[in-house]
């Protein structure tokens, strides 16, 4: 973790923090009444009102936990894809839950990158068009040197004119990573980015994510259920039953596996 850097505060702007994303008292309930599912925190008669968690700037954090523990729900709320039932989410100094849909959309477009497990690319656009899509939606021009650097790092130079259907699963995921990295977002969120890949292709994608953190200071938050994948991260946050159940710094596959066993998964 990097030490806090002294920064000048601009009037009207929220003060910068060391955390890229932070949640406090976060709850998410699906449905209501007796059939309500408390995906995140908020259980009646339970001490925990909600989830409090923070993700450091320039770090690679993995969110882990058994299936159904609320990993995806947490990530959706943090990324402004879903509206929490209670609590607050801060992206840098911006509080997300008070934003209107269009503001939230623009925030995702300008400040957040996404890599999903599957269905990451638009079938009608070629690889290049997919990579620059969020910037084009924002009406911004990608910096050509940065674009070349990203594409080169991903080894996709000769595949740029291909449509997704003509790319392998690993290539498609690398295109998705390139798309997420190109606008230099505040945070890249990845939900099981290697879930559909074989181990070699998966390792390539994880290497990419890690090197973007090491070399360019990119913040990455990744959801995974694979201890080997989690071992690429700087830190692991463990979830169980919609609550934070543990925190591991500098994880290895073994330490993560042990911690998961401790949760009874």
């Amino acid at each position: 973790m990097s030490a806090p850097v002294p920064v000048m505060t601009v009037p009207g702007e929220p003060p910068p923090t060391a955390d890229a994303v932070r949640a406090s008292g976060l709850t998410r309930t699906y449905g209501s009444g007796s059939t309500a599912v408390h995906a995140l925190g908020g259980r009646v008669g339970d001490g925990t009102a909600g989830v409090d968690v923070a993700f450091a700037r320039g770090a690679f954090t993995a969110i882990m936990g058994p299936s159904g523990s609320g990993k995806s729900t947490l990530m959706h709320c943090l990324a402004g894809l879903d509206t929490p039932t209670g609590g607050q989410v801060f992206l840098g100094g911006t509080e997300l839950t008070s934003l209107r849909d269009d503001q939230l959309t623009r925030l995702r477009r300008d400040r957040i990158g996404f890599v999903f497990q599957s269905f990451n690319l638009l079938p009608v656009l070629d690889a290049r068009e997919n990579i620059v899509l969020p910037m084009q939606l924002a009406g911004r021009r990608p910096d050509p040197t940065w674009f070349d650097a990203v594409v080169a790092r991903l080894g996709l130079r000769d595949r740029l004119r291909h449509r997704p259907a003509e790319l392998s699963g690993g290539q498609q995921q690398r295109v998705a990573v390139a798309r997420a990295l190109l606008p230099r977002p505040d945070v890249v969120f990845a939900d099981e980015p290697t879930g559909n890949l074989d181990s070699r292709a998966g390792a390539e994608v994880l290497d990419l994510l890690r090197s973007s953190v090491r070399e360019t200071g990119q913040t990455v938050v990744m959801v995974t259920h694979d201890p080997a994948a989690a071992a690429y991260a700087d830190r692991v946050v463990l979830l169980a039953d919609g609550r934070v159940a543990g925190d591991i710094d500098d994880p290895t596959a073994d330490s993560v596996l042990a911690a998961l066993r401790g949760l009874g998964a």
Partner: protein, 819 residues
């Protein structure tokens, strides 16, 4: 299986709404057309046939000779109870309160009360000479005294008076036209110069069988030059003479009805295809649990049948309702009178059958495709690959096989000017075009998509989306294409017909209205100004009249015109050239009597001397010189004739009434004639046609719009994940709506542009082969309307994207992750 069907219908009710509405509109249109045409026929029969309702047998002369002698023979027959000797004439009548005389058609009233058919709006029918009953159009009231002007055998003017004793309600009888009608006793018709009876209306004794009586009369009149018909036969005959044009209209409307059904069929086929594509897994699951492919097909067809019957029934109801509405709006006060609605059973049954069969036929191909769903499809993830058309090559070949000979037939039709060749040629080639369109549309949409790439990311995405499922895009666009093609063909055809007909009419009748003073002293000079001041009169010019002696030594009534003043009054100088100084425009009869050819020298003389003119032949009744030339030869010549040009769009009947009043006030003997009403009648027919065509654009566009909306709605369902991804990556709701709007605009715009191009070609070809026979065709391209069609069709497409767009915009970003 029944449970599955009903469950399917319930679950997909929303999607089926599109098919249902398409069928309701198409069937409704056909039923309304048939019902209105039947209503027109029966209304007309009632109006025209009114005079034959109490008539058992009618005798008419085949030669036009008077039937006085025949009447005596008929009256002597034992089966005949009464005979009415129907006579007619015409008079110029002056109604109190009006300054100008009007032209009245006069008919005799039957002596026998049984044969009197007139419905009285008030008063009574005349019993003796000096009494008259008039139609409402005359504008006289009971007790008014009409002053009638007639001419005796020597051509002398005779005036007589007649008291109005009754007003007759003609109940929308269109045969009177814009003229008033008068009814008097037979004796009065005779004193007003009527000829002998032209028609005998015969009543038999009570409980006579008309055909039997007709046979008796026929054999009694053996060898005489007469036609004998029953009253009913005569009524039908006269009504048909009048509704002949309405029939053509009905036929045309039915052609459009067929087109509406074709378009509806495409929309339905598309709906079912997509519905089934969405249900691939469901159908596969059915197959997995043991349903045979036959059962699957039957369940799909049963679903179509239920939809078809229900929608057709709604359509029949809607059609009858529409006909009733039109009938109520139009009423009997129109050139095509309508009273109530007459619903022929054939319209009801035909509508039901046609709608159901269309739906079933449209569902046939998708049902066949559904049976090919493999049970394993239930276990595979949904295949996002676009459906590839296997019938593509077959369709291409079939299309070409129809288009090539069709076009050849049309070309031959134009070359020999025969419609009988062009029409089947047009039909063949259009069917071919529809088949080819299925293949041609996707590449064109793709090209158009590349064109709009500069419109930003949304436009580029829309271009890609529009061509993802070529078959669906083609079917959607073709539905719109058919409607637009036919509409623009009609619009272009009507414009050219109008231009051609107007050019012909203008040459034939260059003056709208002619006022003659019929007085020694001529008309006052101020009359030109006063007539020009009449609302609806655009220009007027006065002609002098005088007597000149021609080469045959006889004095001929001649006219002098100021060419500069007359030029703006005449609609055309093709057939009636205006004279220059030293030129005389001579009537065609001078060719025989004076031995004149065009360009010859001709010497005319009058009280003021004589002069040699260059002769030009033209459509005029009297020699036409310039005013200066005429006055030089005949110093006594006075202005006695006025030519008027009416403003386009003015109501000729109203203007002529006012002109009659103004002229009558200045010169009591003035007479007003003119052909303005013919031109107006033609314009009205064409306007009605264009209005109907606009309505058709509405119907075709409405159905196609449903198709576009339906296709988009299904795309939204299919691309839920994709739209979620776009939302996650930062596409705002407005941009999502824009995405669908672009997609709709692309498909609709391409269909509209292709349709307009095709339609223009068909319209011009059609007019060229129909009118080619009658002389020069004046091509006219209604750019404004054609442009409007493209705009309306594209805008309709955009409109169709609104609802699906809203739904797509509501897709939550998390949908992308829902797998």
């Amino acid at each position: 299986m029944l449970r599955v069907i009903t469950a399917g219908l319930r679950a997909h009710a929303a999607r089926l709404v599109a098919s249902t509405v398409a069928i309701v509109i198409a069937v409704g249109f056909v039923v309304a057309t048939v019902t209105l045409s039947e209503t027109t026929r029966s209304t007309m029969l009632e109006a025209v046939g009114a005079r034959y309702t109490s008539t058992d047998v009618v005798v008419t002369s085949t030669t036009g000779a008077p039937l006085d002698d025949v009447a005596r023979d008929v009256a002597a027959l034992p089966g005949v109870a009464a005979v009415d000797l129907a006579r007619s004439t015409s008079v110029q009548a002056l109604v109190p309160g009006r300054t100008g005389a009007q032209y009245l058609l006069v008919d005799s009233v039957a002596e026998d009360p049984a044969l009197r058919w007139q419905h009285l709006a008030g008063g009574a029918l005349p019993d003796r000479p000096g009494e008259v009953a008039v139609s409402e159009r005359v504008g006289a009231e009971i007790g008014d005294v009409l002053i009638a002007t007639t001419y005796d055998d020597e051509g002398r003017e005779v005036t007589s008076e007649a008291t109005v004793v009754g007003v007759v309600d003609l109940r929308g009888d269109p045969s009177a036209g814009i003229n008033g009608r008068a009814f008097v006793v037979g004796e009065q018709v005779e004193t007003w110069g009527g000829l002998g009876p032209s028609e005998l209306r015969i009543a038999g004794w009570p409980r006579t069988d008309p055909p039997l009586l007709a046979a008796e009369v026929r054999s009694g009149l053996e060898g005489q030059a007469v036609d004998v018909r029953t009253g009913e036969e005569q009524a039908v005959r006269e009504a048909e003479a009048l509704t002949g044009d309405a029939r053509v209209l009905t036929l045309m409307l039915l052609v459009f009805g067929t087109v509406a059904l074709l378009v509806a069929g495409l929309v339905i086929a598309n709906t079912f295809a997509v519905l089934l594509a969405q249900r691939t897994r469901e159908l596969a699951l059915l197959r997995c649990v043991g349903a045979t492919s036959r059962q699957v097909r039957r369940s799909v067809l049963a679903e179509a049948a239920v939809t078809g019957v229900a929608a057709s029934a709604l359509g029949v109801g809607a059609g009858i309702g529409l006909a009733a509405l039109v009938s109520a709006l139009v009423g009997t006060d129109s050139p095509v009178p309508l009273a109530g609605v007459t619903v022929p059973l054939s319209a009801v049954l035909g509508g039901l059958a046609v709608g159901t069969v269309t739906t079933l036929l449209a569902a046939l191909a998708p049902a066949r495709a559904a049976t090919r769903v493999a049970p394993l499809a239930a276990l595979r993830p949904l295949d996002p690959a676009p459906l590839r058309s296997r019938g593509g090559v077959r369709r291409l070949v079939a299309g070409l096989l129809l288009v090539v000979p069709g076009v050849a037939l049309m070309v031959a039709g134009i070359a020999v000017g025969d419609v009988l060749l062009s029409v089947p040629g047009g039909a063949l080639s259009f069917l071919g075009v529809v088949l080819l369109a299925q293949r041609a549309v996707p590449p064109v949409v793709a090209a158009a998509g590349r064109l709009v790439r500069s419109g930003g990311v949304t436009a580029r995405l829309a271009g890609g989306n529009a061509t993802r499922n070529p078959r669906r895009t083609a079917a959607t666009a073709t539905a719109l294409l058919i409607g637009v093609t036919l509409t623009s063909a009609m619009v272009v055809g009507a414009a050219t017909t109008r231009a051609t007909a107007q050019a012909g009419l203008a040459a034939q009748y260059p003056t709208d209205v002619v006022v003659t003073g019929n007085s020694e002293d001529g008309v006052p000079a101020s009359l030109v100004g006063r007539l020009e001041a009449v609302d609806g009169v655009q220009a007027a010019t006065a002609l002098t009249a005088g007597g000149l002696t021609g080469p045959d030594g006889y004095e001929t009534w001649s006219l002098g015109v100021d060419p500069a003043e007359a030029a703006p009054v005449l609609r055309s100088t093709d057939d009636l050239p205006l004279p220059a100084e030293g030129t005389a425009v001579l009537p065609w009869w001078t060719v025989d009597t004076w031995g004149i050819e065009d360009g010859d020298e001709v010497t005319l003389s009058g009280d003021g001397g004589s002069r040699t003119f260059t002769a030009r032949l033209g459509d005029t009744d009297h020699p036409l010189l310039t005013t200066t030339d005429l006055t030089a030869l005949d110093p006594d010549a006075v202005a006695d004739t006025l030519w008027l040009r009416l403003a386009d769009g003015a109501d000729p009947a109203a203007v002529v009434d006012e002109v009659t009043d103004v002229a009558g006030a200045a010169v009591p003997t003035a007479a007003v004639t003119g052909l303005a009403s013919e031109r107006a009648a033609l314009d009205e027919v064409l306007d009605v046609l264009l209005l109907i065509v606009t309505g058709l654009l509405g119907v075709a566009v409405l159905i196609a719009l449903i198709g576009v909306g339906n296709t988009l709605a299904l795309s939204v369902v299919e691309r839920r994940q994709e739209n979620g991804l776009l939302r996650a990556l930062g596409l705002t709701r407005g941009q999502v709506r824009g995405l669908l709007a672009w997609e709709a605009a692309l498909v609709a715009g391409v269909a509209a542009v292709l349709g307009v191009v095709l339609g223009t070609a068909y319209g011009l070809i059609g007019v060229a082969s129909v009118l080619g026979d009658y002389g020069e065709v004046v091509l006219s391209m209604p750019w404004l309307q054609v442009g409007a069609i493209v705009v309306v069709a594209t805008a309709a497409g955009l409109l169709a994207s609104v609802l699906p767009g809203r739904r797509a915009a509501r897709t939550p970003p998390v949908a992308a992750l829902a797998g």
